[in-house]
Subunit: 360 residues, 2 copies
């Protein structure tokens, strides 16, 4: 771990000035003889350019941050999986922040953009407060938000369409003959929670089903809370024949509860999740889920950010990713799943196959 060589060391050994060394290393026009000497010296010394000094001068770190609510949630991981290669291809490194959905932590990340250790930020906040908006407006580096922001906010923005997503699910359940469709949601003060609640109400209305608050329960976006909420709902209203869940983790919790209660899925109760994470494809029974395009959103966000880094002055853009319904056993039964597998060999089964590499 000896002190490494710098361009000074090279300059000395090659008998030239540091300016020449820098020019050679950056491929600027230089006499052939000088190039040779410098490269030889650099090679002998095992020189590696100091990225920190370079960043100080060039005001570019070639790093980008991604701030997510929870690194344990597969949704964010699906995003990271897409963001990373896009950035890598453009020569950027990815710095990860897990904020645990704590507003203060998110504000802190935004604030720390001023430290200039990254060139830009992709953030996916669960709640968007005024403080968020103020910080985004004055941020010292470009920001891309994954998730909805108030109309008129000047920021590059990638959105899902929960409304359509929920409708796809409710329509599917309706067509299967389900009429008492319960809803297990996450907190209403989160952006997705609020959007999905509204969408559920609308979708019922479109189908002429009554809104019954007895079969709606609010918990939180993780498995244990999903289980708790589903249990409460079932105790109160044993007659539900379907459960729409606001994400896959909630749906997995609901499956646990239904299994423990001796109810069959989907014969007695059909279950739909949301986000279409790896867990949906692998669950037991496999979970019908509304894909909100996490992968596509991650990719889009990375691309928006790269564009922004190349052109600071263009208008902010909004990208909306279309949802789609991935039908599996928890609504259509095992037969349907086998059918799907046979035909399309595809989507439902292949998603986790992206995974390469092994285990150390």
């Amino acid at each position: 771990m000896a002190e490494g060589p710098t361009i000074n060391t090279i300059a000395e050994r090659a008998g030239v000035s540091i300016a020449s060394v820098s020019r050679v290393l950056n491929g600027l026009p230089t006499r052939q003889e000088t190039v040779r000497k410098v490269l030889a010296a650099a090679e002998e010394l095992g020189y590696v350019r100091n990225a920190v000094a370079r960043s100080l001068k060039s005001r570019r770190t070639h790093q980008v941050a991604f701030a997510m609510a929870d690194i344990g949630n597969p949704v964010y991981l699906a995003m990271v999986r897409q963001i990373q290669p896009v950035l890598k291809a453009a020569g950027y490194r990815l710095v990860l922040h897990s904020t645990d959905a704590i507003v203060a932590d998110e504000i802190d990340v935004l604030h720390s953009l001023g430290e200039r250790y990254v060139d830009g930020l992709i953030m996916s906040p669960l709640r968007v407060t005024n403080e968020h908006l103020k910080m985004i407006a004055t941020a010292r580096a470009p920001v891309v938000i994954i998730g909805s922001v108030p109309e008129g906010t000047r920021v590059d923005n990638v959105r899902a369409d929960s409304r359509t997503g929920v409708r796809l699910a409710i329509d599917h359940l309706y067509e299967l003959g389900r009429r008492r469709i319960g809803f297990v949601n996450g907190p209403l003060d989160t952006v997705p929670g609020a959007a999905r609640a509204a969408a559920y109400g609308e979708a019922l209305k479109e189908r002429g089903l009554p809104y019954d608050e007895e079969i709606v329960e609010v918990g939180d976006f993780y498995r244990a809370e999903g289980a708790r909420a589903a249990r409460a709902l079932l105790d109160r209203a044993p007659g539900v024949d379907a459960l729409m869940c606001a994400n896959d983790l909630i749906a997995l919790g609901a499956l646990d509860v239904l299994r423990a209660a001796g109810l069959r899925v989907p014969e007695d109760v059909a279950v739909v999740g949301m986000d279409d994470t790896d867990l949906a494809a692998a669950s037991w029974p496999s979970l019908t889920s509304v894909s909100l395009g996490s992968a596509e959103r991650g990719k889009a966000a990375a691309e928006l950010l790269l564009d922004r880094l190349n052109d600071m002055d263009s208008q902010p853009r909004v990208v909306t990713v279309a949802p789609r319904l991935v039908i599996r056993a928890s609504t259509a039964g095992e037969a349907a799943v086998l059918g799907v597998r046979g035909e399309t060999s595809g989507e439902t089964v292949n998603i986790p196959l992206q995974s390469k590499g092994g285990t150390p």
Copy 2:
């Protein structure tokens, strides 16, 4: 995105020198009046310290890199989940690299340590070549390796114990009365592949079972390849009554194949995976899996690295994490799973519950 204030701006406005500003901002003893003026100026200007300049001077970036073979593999994500909070608590940021298990890319990451944009590196290579070892020995920043390295390599090192892990699984299958236990492995030129192959042979011998290469198949560590390999094995040797799989993704592939072949799991063929990822708990049927302690290994690696950063001269350490067998439906049937769930409320079900946060 205006040019931000620097300590010069503050010094000017507060009517003091930049040295005083720096002292105040770093909490060094200063007259009360000066402190007040500087802090007021900093506040008014919305000053944020430039991390790059600070790093250049202090030779510390407070960043740490984690290089994994594949960001899509849940094993590495389990590690990231543990590494991140440990580093965050110590004031470090996490930079992610996905090398796709390409040796050249891994060497490149090691090489780039010379750029000094991170203070240290955690790496989990699938294959360890001489080039790896050479680069590690001469690296310009401390490195922690997750995975086995040759005896005598001077590097902080966290290992799993595949040998014991495989034995746990084989013993379990033996006790269930299985006698023809097939093995679906990953590439033999990888560290885990080689270790697991050796362990499988030993475990059979201990139980007095013959080694039969007809029921051993080598594929790769992901689902599609696992499925391919399992299919080949079953075609060749229809009589197997259990499949030991070298990781969970392979096991999921095997489950796909068994289901398609109309074989019941575990009645006809019991299946064991390895790594105990989230997917194992969620799969269909839920998958008995050998946990090699990915989470613990990630945590241990982060702690080793932090210790090393605080003391560059101490002896390298090796931490070995003990494996354990998590029994689920793919060997013990559904009853057993319900049983376990009732009793311990625990391990088998709780693992994915760590997940907090929701979906944007």
